[in-house]
Amino acid sequence: MTTVPTVFIVDDDAAVLTSLARLVRSAGYHAVTFSSAGEFLDRVTADTPGCLVLDVHLPELSGLDLQQALATAGQSLPIIFLTGYGDIPMSVRAIKAGAVDFLTKPCNDKDLLMAIQQALVQDQQARQAQADVADIQQRLATLTPREREVLALVIAGQLNKQIAAALGASEQTIKTHRGRVMEKLQVASLADLVRLAEKGGIAPAAAPRQVN
């Protein structure tokens, strides 16, 4: 992963494309240019961090079409739209579909660079969140089925005694399982365990029948 984030720029006008790339480079980012949406889809893979500066009016596949295509492909690259004559419905559609910003050409360098910065932070956060989830899932994968069962019941707020009753094991065994889960998932407290499980997508088990 490069340390300098990449700003992808798509515009069918060569002069605009070159000037935007220069502006982006002058702010210290790495700029990659494309003259059509199709070209972008062909060349860019999901694992490149960065953001996309996209002209709305492109021949063939429009900017909004590209946004849709990326969403369908599960790519979460933040998008800044540029347009010469944006109408309100168009901008609403773009923002609703997750665009970072919708700027009108000619746009000021400050506006554009700020939007780019915001988009890059967003991208980084999204990637961080993704990485965290991946890490948690990796940790969760190390649990045995029994430990998973215990985990689901623990985060559902069950006491060791209740879990033991529900799983038909001794309270001491449950305690041992619970300790091992905490160890494998590298958490120190019950609160951390709950948060991690939530991030990892583990649903709390339905409360078992109450044992009186």
Partner: protein
């Protein structure tokens, strides 16, 4: 006149009666001797009587012949006078001036109405130079050329020119004539008529002015519809200029500044500025109200110019424009702005047809080719849903439109422009769907105008 003829015949009768009476007298006097039948005897004895009889017989014949001749002369004279009167009447009514130019003597004879047409003072002798001087300065050369051409090619002479009257009034005159040549082919005389066509010309100019005004109004309306796309067309270079300039400021702040990059940026700024200027120039030309002088034009260049203007609009409408322009087409003579307007209207119409249809791909094709030796054809073909066969002709009527926001003037004004350029505009449906609008224009012959 008929009564004259009868009375002449009656006048001849007494002569005949006298002749027959003389003959009978001679017969009785001759008596039985004449019964011999000897002509010699008769001549010998009645010499004087015979002469008298012959004279008497001849005299009425002579009188009769003279009377007939006189009657003919008188009739011819009347006819000539009538004909002249009719001619003068017609010439005066039509404000027709007759003239004869004796080329060998360089003298021009003109009728009085003709003098009035050219503003010549009465009884002043005229020559060719005097004639040329009476014309509007701008028309002298072309008129002289037309006369020389008629004399060299031995063709009918026909020309229209303006004459400045002594009181400063401007008259439009059409002159038509024919040269007479000697056996060696040397021109002797040029004879013809001139007619005042000022009223017709004014009406023509008025119609032309109306057409121009209408064309201008519809052109401005069309450009109004296109304003968003045209703003975009200007916005692109402006965006590039702004981003380039701001990037340059940032590069300058760096140490050391990247001079190579700065040089490239400045070069691009100049280029983008020129591009914005071009857009403005193109627009200004179309917004212009006054008449553009007719000139020899490259139709392909006209089409390319409109294509550039429409580029953004077509992209926004997802219409793909294909240009199939024949190379080395001869030029046409016309008003560049009005012909651009025709192409603009046809392309916009095609694009609209494509937008209202759900066909895919939305392809608009503009093609130029030689229609025949004397005409060039431009065809704009779309892949839309075509035109109702019953409406193929009525789409050219004013205020007939299929568009919800259309004024219905686009095709009507286009047809009037093409017609005024001596061409034709019509619509056909394509066998494979969609419609094609064709127009022809005559190949330009600037030298013959």
């Amino acid at each position: 006149m008929k009564t004259d003829g009868y009375s002449n015949q009656f006048l001849a009768i007494p002569g005949w009666v006298a002749a027959i009476f003389s003959w009978l007298c001679a017969w009785f006097w001759a008596g039985p001797a004449a019964a011999d039948g000897s002509v010699t005897w008769l001549v010998e004895h009645y010499e004087w009587q015979i002469i008298g009889i012959i004279v008497l017989c001849a005299e009425p014949l002579l009188i009769f012949a003279l009377l007939i001749q006189q009657r003919r002369w008188r009739r011819a004279e009347t006819q000539l006078r009538d004909s002249e009167e009719r001619m003068t009447l017609a010439a005066t009514a039509a404000k027709l001036g007759m003239w004869v130019w004796d080329i060998t003597q360089d003298q021009i004879w003109v009728t009085d109405p003709c003098r009035a047409l050219y503003g010549f003072a009465p009884a002043v002798s005229l020559d060719y130079q005097a004639f040329l001087q009476s014309l509007h300065p701008d028309d002298r050369e072309s008129t002289d050329r037309a006369i020389q051409r008629a004399l060299t090619a031995r063709k009918e002479y026909h020309c229209e020119y303006r004459v400045i009257q002594p009181d400063g009034r401007l008259l439009w005159i059409a002159a038509q004539g024919r040269g007479y040549f000697d056996s060696a082919g040397k021109p002797l005389r040029l004879m013809g008529v001139s007619i005042d066509i000022t009223a017709r010309k004014q009406a023509e100019l008025e119609i032309q002015r109306h057409r121009q005004e209408l064309a201008h109004v519809t052109r401005v309306a069309t450009l109004g519809e296109l304003s968003a796309a045209l703003a975009h067309e200007l916005n692109q270079p402006l965006t590039a200029i702004l981003s380039n300039a701001q990037a340059a400021q940032r590069f300058l702040a760096q140490t050391p500044p990247d001079l190579e990059e700065l040089r490239a940026i400045l070069q691009d700024i100049v280029q983008d500025n020129q591009r914005a200027g071009e857009v403005v120039r193109r627009l200004r030309a179309l917004f212009k109200k006054e008449e553009t002088p007719r000139q020899v034009l490259d139709l392909n260049a006209v089409i390319r110019e409109v294509g550039k203007l429409l580029c953004s609009d077509l992209i926004a409408k997802h219409v793909f424009l294909v240009m199939d322009l024949a190379a080395d087409l001869p030029g046409v003579v016309g008003d560049p702005v009005q012909l651009q307007q025709v192409v603009l209207n046809l392309l916009l119409n095609g694009a609209e047809a494509l937008c209202s249809a759900t066909t895919c791909p939305r392809q608009l094709q503009v093609r130029t080719c030689r229609h025949d030796a004397a005409t060039i054809e431009v065809a704009v073909r779309d892949t839309g849903s075509g035109i109702d066969p019953e409406q193929l002709e009525s789409v050219f009527e004013p205020f007939v439109t299929t568009k919800p926001q259309g004024l219905g003037m686009g095709l009507a004004i286009s047809r009037s422009i093409v017609t005024a350029h001596g061409g034709r505009l019509w619509a056909t449906n394509n066998p494979d769907g969609g419609a094609t609008l064709h127009f022809t224009l005559p190949v330009g012959q600037e030298s013959n105008r």
